[in-house]
Symmetry: C2
Subunit: 214 residues, 2 copies
DNA sequence: GTGATCTTGTGAATACAAGCACTAGCGTCG
DNA sequence: CGACGCTAGTGCTTGTATTCACAAGATCAC
């Protein structure tokens, strides 16, 4: 019984960070307890969902009172694996890659960018916001040596699968893909994507359908 | 019966752009027909799902043969509302906003950036990649005048709700939010978000849980 | 203490999505 | 021209997520 195998649903996992941010705001404004209703309002979901989501973490609330903000924040950070840093590597030192490296929000939230990689030798050994650019030939070995946990792909679409393969070879277990293409990774590696064109097209769909029914 | 009210499920809508991209690749390589299986492989989903998704658009396939690539591409573009451009406005002319404006991928896919807005008077009247920056005081009127359909929020989190309100006031029906905060919009306005920190935290969760069970 | 009032935690109901497995229709080959 | 192979379309099953609604526990006032 060493393993608490209470399996947390995917949809819940995706909401935990939103609650986390809300809790951080509450700490800032020195609120010590919060009800599921208040939290729901802040996170933009309904209260029953908040309670069910939080119940997967354990029974950290108090009936009649609510949740202790700091305690819940701590438990949630622990569950999300945010009690320690996750070194991040960015593949592709172009516009997007540089913008991401320059963005302080990463390091600040426990995701320090420890290396960048590019296939363009002109860019190798450059420093971008203090982060050194390595050649992609050395990706696997360097990522492995630096203990990179999360890889960010910011290459053109055509190079994305290759970048993913190299990251996996370097022992990276999680990949965030910004290139507008589907990439595949072996089982046991997490993959998420951020695709602007896709988001805009989804918006376009709903807008089109709304307008045509007016 | 002027309205074909075949309601397309949200999950399907979110996949259509992925199919669309696959179809565009097939056109490039001069493939004229494609089976659900091939398309499924390209889009990274299973074949039954492809068939069901496409069936919401109509019966555009031919049994025993597959789908005509160009015809399906056209029908899907039409359904997604991509047969005409959607003017986009970006609020927040900082690092992210400028990067987005500089990125050609938008205009190229039918989402021309027609205006940017910022509250910083230093930035007003600047041209960023040929796009003029307006003051946020004029947001609603300018957006309305330019017929902006989609608004992109790239301001600090604290200004995001205000930006959304102004966009809505300007008649913008769809909003893509990059600020790491929950914003609310009136019914009838579509809202999607892109949140990097959130994505990283989700990856962190799975990585943490994988490692602890090894 | 007892009753009134909160608010959590959760079983049960409902809604939504995924996937299987079969049927129907097209094309081709013998 | 009939049989066979291929592939779209879809009813049905299964799984997952959301939401409701209420019992159980906590606090407070008196
Ligand atoms: N810039 C944006 O605002 C933006 C927005 C949305 C999506 N994207 C996507 O992000 C990706 C990067 O965009 P960008 O604007 O930074 O492009 P970019 O051309 O500025 O940068 C791409 C970088 O990747 C490098 N590269 C090429 N092949 C490589 C390989 N095999 N291995 C490693 N590095 C390689 C290039 O040398 C270059 O430095 C693209 O897929 C783009 O579609 C960008
Ligand atoms: N830069 C990145 O790589 C990155 C990555 C992820 C998320 N983000 C998020 O995107 C947002 C913008 O990031 P950034 O790096 O561009 O920040 P930034 O500070 O460079 O730019 C913010 C811009 O918004 C403007 N602004 C401030 N208040 C405003 C208001 N009320 N109305 C209109 N404009 C206003 C500022 O003048 C500034 O030009 C932030 O919320 C950030 O968290 C950025």
């Amino acid at each position: 019984m060493s393993q608490r195998s209470r399996q947390i649903p995917e949809a819940t996992v995706a909401r935990l960070p939103v609650y986390l941010r809300s809790l951080a705001e509450l700490v800032d404004e020195k609120t010590s307890t919060v009800s599921s209703e208040r939290l729901a309002e802040m996170a933009g979901v309904n209260a029953a969902k908040v309670r069910k989501d939080l119940s997967y973490l354990g029974s950290y609330g108090t009936r009649g009172v609510g949740y202790d903000v700091e305690y819940l924040l701590f438990q949630m950070s622990r569950e999300l694996g945010l009690t320690h840093d996750w070194p991040v590597a960015i593949v592709g030192a172009g516009n997007l890659g540089s913008a991401l490296a320059n963005y302080g929000g990463f390091t600040q939230r426990g995701f320090p960018v420890v290396a960048m990689f590019d296939s363009d030798r002109q860019k190798v050994d450059n420093l971008i916001h203090g982060v050194r650019v390595f050649h992609t030939d050395d990706l696997a070995s360097t990522a492995s040596k630096l203990g990179v946990g999360i890889g960010v792909i910011a290459t053109p679409a055509s190079a994305a699968q290759d970048a993913a393969d190299k990251l996996v070879a370097g022992g990276v277990g999680s990949i965030l893909n910004f290139a507008p293409t589907v990439i595949s990774v072996p089982e046991g590696v997490s993959l998420r994507k951020v695709d602007l064109a896709l988001e805009l097209q989804i918006l376009s769909f709903y807008q089109e359908h709304r307008e045509s029914s007016e």
